[in-house]
């Protein structure tokens, strides 16, 4: 467990901080649970005081819950919410194009940001995963999405076995061609690096402090492009979380249930 010194932080705290920066002030964010939930709480407490969060269970909230959340339906998230409503109300906002940013996770991601949370293979054995939940809807319909994943090489595959949540499909203008409404993935944040998308394809944008860019590239089964390839600018180093962000994360997750250990 990390020390309580805010100048030290865990990889997950860095992920939360990086994810929080993907929320602009005034955004309506489709949040879900775990790290993105904390990221929203950090964002709205710092640079994005007018951001709003919506949750597929039917919760609309403007401010951090006054208590720790294991799930989006924990009572602190319902208490003094802007609205506790139904799923179609929230999904309607997605479908009308009113959601600026949606957060996604996944067991597997491929070159074009497609995500699989339905079934994977470990050798010959097929492993059944929980499934989409609202992820497919968020992936299809949000203006942009941000993906958070643990950095494990087995999660990076050339082509996902099952597209639970479409990213940029086969790259390029695939979403337009397939009439997929939202804008698709804008960023991937792992526990080692952050990535952008160029012409629908993943590229390495920044590595977290102390991580080597070549080491990250080696975790991918294809020839990973980098910011240098895309913009000419060298791969950067991810901004460390501010001490304010770290303090907030530890306020929202006091036992480190989601962000430590």
């Amino acid at each position: 467990m990390a020390s309580e010194d805010a100048s030290e932080y865990t990889a997950r705290e860095l992920m939360v901080s990086a994810a929080a920066r993907e929320i602009d002030d005034g955004d309506v964010a489709f949040v879900g649970m775990r790290l993105p939930l904390i990221a929203f709480q950090v964002a709205v407490s710092t640079h994005a005081p007018n951001a709003m969060s919506v949750f597929e269970s039917g919760v609309v909230r403007e401010d951090p819950a006054d208590g720790f959340l294991h799930t989006m339906c924990d009572l602190p998230n319902l208490d003094r919410a802007v609205s506790t409503t139904g799923m179609l109300d929230v999904m309607g906002r997605l479908a009308r194009g009113d959601i600026d940013v949606g957060f996604l996770g996944g067991a597997e991601i491929d070159r074009y940001g497609n995500l699989n949370t339905t079934r994977v293979h470990a050798g010959d054995r097929e492993i059944r995963l929980p499934g989409s939940g609202g992820a497919c809807d968020i992936a299809c319909l949000s203006d942009r999405t941000v993906i958070l994943m643990a950095h494990e090489p087995r999660r990076f595959v050339e082509r996902v076995e099952y597209v639970t949540s479409p990213g940029h499909g086969e790259g390029g203008d695939w979403r337009d061609e397939q009439s997929v409404q939202g804008g698709g993935p804008n960023a991937l944040v792992t526990s080692k690096a952050t990535f952008g998308f160029d012409d629908g394809e993943l590229y390495l944008r920044t590595v977290h402090p102390g991580v080597d860019a070549d080491e990250v590239a080696a975790d991918f089964p294809w020839d990973l492009r980098t910011r240098e390839d895309v913009t000419g600018e060298a791969v950067g180093v991810t901004d460390a979380p501010s001490s304010e962000a770290v303090e907030l994360i530890r306020e929202f997750d006091p036992d480190g249930f989601w962000t430590r250990g």
């Binding site: 649970m33 949750f55 597929e56 269970s57 039917g58 919760v59 294991h70 799930t71 989006m72 339906c73 924990d74 009572l75 319902l78 208490d79 003094r80 506790t84 409503t85 139904g86 799923m87 179609l88 999904m91 997605l94 479908a95 339905t118 054995r125 097929e126 492993i127 059944r128 995963l129 929980p130 499934g131 989409s132 939940g133 609202g134 992820a135 497919c136 809807d137 992936a139 299809c140 319909l141 099952y162 597209v163 639970t164 949540s165 479409p166 499909g169 695939w174 979403r175 397939q178 009439s179 997929v180 409404q181």
Partner: protein, 297 residues
Amino acid sequence: MPADKTASMAEAIASIEPGSTIAAGLALEHAIPFAAGHELVRQGTDDLTLVGPISDVLFDQLVGAGLVSNVRAAWTGNVSAGSGYNFRRAVEGGELDVENHSNFSIALSLHAAELGVPYLPTRSLLGSDIAGEPQFRITEDPFEGQRVVQVPAIAPDWTFVHVQRAAPTGDAHLWGNTGVTYEAVRAADNVLVTAEEIVDPEVIKSDPSRTRITREQVTAVVEAPFGAHPSPVAGRYNRDNEFFLEYAEATRDEGGFDAWADEWIHGVESRAEYREKVTRDLSVREPTTAAEVTYGQ
């Protein structure tokens, strides 16, 4: 006098036929009808098809008890711990069929049945492999030429819903987030309402805009205090996260579910006895009272 639909949990569940399609867990992590589910396990009502968005271990428990042939859902697992191990084993062992949905598509399936139509269109799913699952059709709409996915109606035989309070008539008040509860109530042939409290009908009628579950849709009303534990109920009790983690640990390995069920389902006579076994303090310590609303004439 309108019919009194109150029943014991045993009576209510006894009227459900094996082979039924049951929708439950409709408010997502909130107000999950665990007490009703546990009575299904006690009575061994099997060959069930389960319908719901995400089930947060209720479905995993029914699968673990060997009651389920089919799951039509968006997500089946344990929100605190990730996997639902009984579900995984059953699917991987070929004992359980799954119809893959997203939350929106399962909501639209129930909404279609609610609106009495064979399908509803959506622009979600396009581009995913879910859109290619056999239950869906992809077409162009006749007005704007947009691609849409047509989501077929699902009308469950039963919908289970847990609420804060209900009248013996079946009229009920549920507050806090509701997910697809109302759609599923209206889509179903029968509805089982389990309630923290059975109240005088005048309590319900004092606030008719909060009454979105009405008697004609309700088959039985069961008083089941603590009936949603370990899930939370707005204004009543908090979520018991440790319980979900302990359940995950207990069911990680084959056979683990039976021991768990012996303790928490077969080993308790009543929900009151179950409640006594739960030692954590889940009470609402900082209540917020809703602002006054009046009707009248």
